[in-house]
Amino acid sequence: MFPKFSLRSMFHGAGGGNDIQWCFSQVKGAVDDDVAEADIISTVEFNHSGELLATGDKGGRVVIFQQEQENKIQSHSRGEYNVYSTFQSHEPEFDYLKSLEIEEKINKIRWLPQKNAAQFLLSTNDKTIKLWKISERDKRPEGYNLKEEDGRYRDPTTVTTLRVPVFRPMDLMVEASPRRIFANAHTYHINSISINSDYETYLSADDLRINLWHLEITDRSFNIVDIKPANMEELTEVITAAEFHPNSCNTFVYSSSKGTIRLCDMRASALCDRHSKLFEEPEDPSNRSFFSEIISSISDVKFSHSGRYMMTRDYLSVKIWDLNMENRPVETYQVHEYLRSKLCSLYENDCIFDKFECCWNGCDSVVMTGSYNNFFRMFDRNTKRDITLEASRENNKPRTVLKPRKVCASGKRKKDEISVDSLDFNKKILHTAWHPKENIIAVATTNNLYIFQDKVN
């Protein structure tokens, strides 16, 4: 039932333009406007099947939602996501040597592909990565000879007969346990983790270094990129994101604060300081401004599922790069060009430092990223159409089709348009995720998680 719907919608060019109608499905999180800082969502990630959706927050907590398996024939929507497991992944720590408090905020979550009944994910804060096992328990043994049902031990002398304990069903219990803790490998703040396609190793990146880990080994990691200069006065750029290639286990990329992306091949040398490819677009001189340098900083880099392309997000745009072409991106999409003239104000209120993420849909035909005023944008690479939608509780009746939004940059504002000056810059969508197989998206506002799906007839 699911495959039929999703195949059909995908076949019809599942686009973010006018091909798809996005409907509200669910919203998770507190309703009130008073946002507790610990509840601010800091990462969102679907697992490989899309059945599970994990969020991390500033308080170090991970919440996993599971999609219901829809059995009704006349279902009008796909299964809902309900809370599956909640656990405290990271706690605040204090580095006594440096007198530095280490935030518990979850920077990234990455799922491992499922190998058995249990699920595994990596979660990281600024300094420590943890491997979590999430497993279900729906049976428990009953009928012990030496123990009562409540656990108390029986007096052995009262045992007159023997029985074989059996497993009986119990209410489903989901347990999360930390299986590995990868610590003390990063001097600077971890911004990315990425699991290799060999499913044995993964990388973690901070501002100046990238380390390679084996999932089974916690007491050592290999440093594969180090851009720290001998003299820190000469520091001009930092690493902002890194990711392994989805298919080639020897290839990874990392982006920099200068707007460049370097592709490295681990076969070339142990230390991949010298890139194999350097992706950089020359700056448009007409766009040069006071803040050019900082808005060119790349906040996210994501390979397409095919591995042929990669997408980068800087402050104002999304760029698609062909791995075979280094000198410029093949596609550029302006997310909110109307902010270019407001950069000074955005610098004052710190919004210019916001790190937006981006994501691909399952078939790499549409890309999505967030913006301000709880807007998020989708760009259809085939039709070249784009759409702006809003994550708002005003549209929260299930199956309500979202109305496209439009921002009026200047001049006469049309009806239903919003002027740039009316945008709420405190309402920002930094984290979005797209289901790997279906047209279901998860969009995180400050402390709420919205789930939208395409209209199913």
Binding site: H189, D207, I294
Partner: protein
């Protein structure tokens, strides 16, 4: 003139942000610090180039003017200490040229205590205070900075030489003051304790060599 004011405003704002970022949980963010220093550098270049263009009319006013610009940044630092909002209270709506009367009028209107007037009183306690009192300019402060030259970059005199004379009146002081204030920070690793006494800051050699913010030093002293 507008360009100069704007550049100066942005520089001061950047300093405020850099200082404020020390207070944040999780310690100094290298990327953020780098971005702020880039903006500061751009603002400085813009300011200096605008200054060069407006060079001649201001040379004659330089001696009378020199104490005044120092007041602006410290006032902003004071505003920061009082958690003033970053809006219209930014530096120097006052022009750089000498205008005694408007400035005096503005002083009470501003509300924040004028460092020049209270500097004598506060000087004695300035070393024991944390925060921004290191930005209070005074003759004594300048002497202190000269004594702490070992912490200063040798680039200071070199960079200032080519600048026009009137720029000496404004930013070298700011630069020295900031450098004295931030030298300990800059020579620390990401975890400079916010309550480090100034004595430590005067001796960057104590700190590990991982001076990740020395790029900031170069930017700051180049004022």
């Amino acid at each position: 003139m507008e360009v100069q004011k704007e550049a100066q405003r942005i520089m001061t704002l950047s300093v405020w942000k850099m200082y404020h970022s020390r207070m944040q949980r999780g310690g100094l963010r290298l990327h953020r610090s780098l971005q702020l220093s880039l903006v500061m550098r751009s603002a400085r270049e813009l300011y200096l180039s605008a200054k060069v263009e407006a060079h001649e009319p201001e040379v004659s006013l330089q001696p009378a003017r020199s104490p005044d610009p120092r007041l602006h940044p410290p006032r902003e630092a004071e505003a920061e200490a009082e958690a003033a909002p970053l809006d219209g209270e930014q530096p120097s709506p006052e022009p750089m040229d000498t205008q005694e009367a408007p400035r005096a009028e503005e002083a009470p209107a501003r509300g924040a205590p004028r460092p020049a007037k209270v500097s004598r009183k506060r000087r004695s306690s300035s070393l024991s205070d944390g925060g921004d009192v290191g930005l209070v300019p005074s003759k004594k402060a300048r002497l202190e900075e000269e004594e702490e030259k070992e912490g200063a970059s040798s680039e200071v005199p070199d960079r200032l030489q080519p600048s026009p004379a009137q720029a000496e009146g404004a930013f070298p002081n700011l630069a020295r003051v900031l450098q004295r204030r931030f030298s300990g920070l800059l020579n620390c690793n990401p975890a400079a304790p916010p309550t480090a006494p100034p004595a430590c800051e005067a001796k960057p050699a104590c700190r590990p060599a991982d001076s990740m913010l020395n790029v900031l030093v170069r930017t700051v002293v180049a004022f």
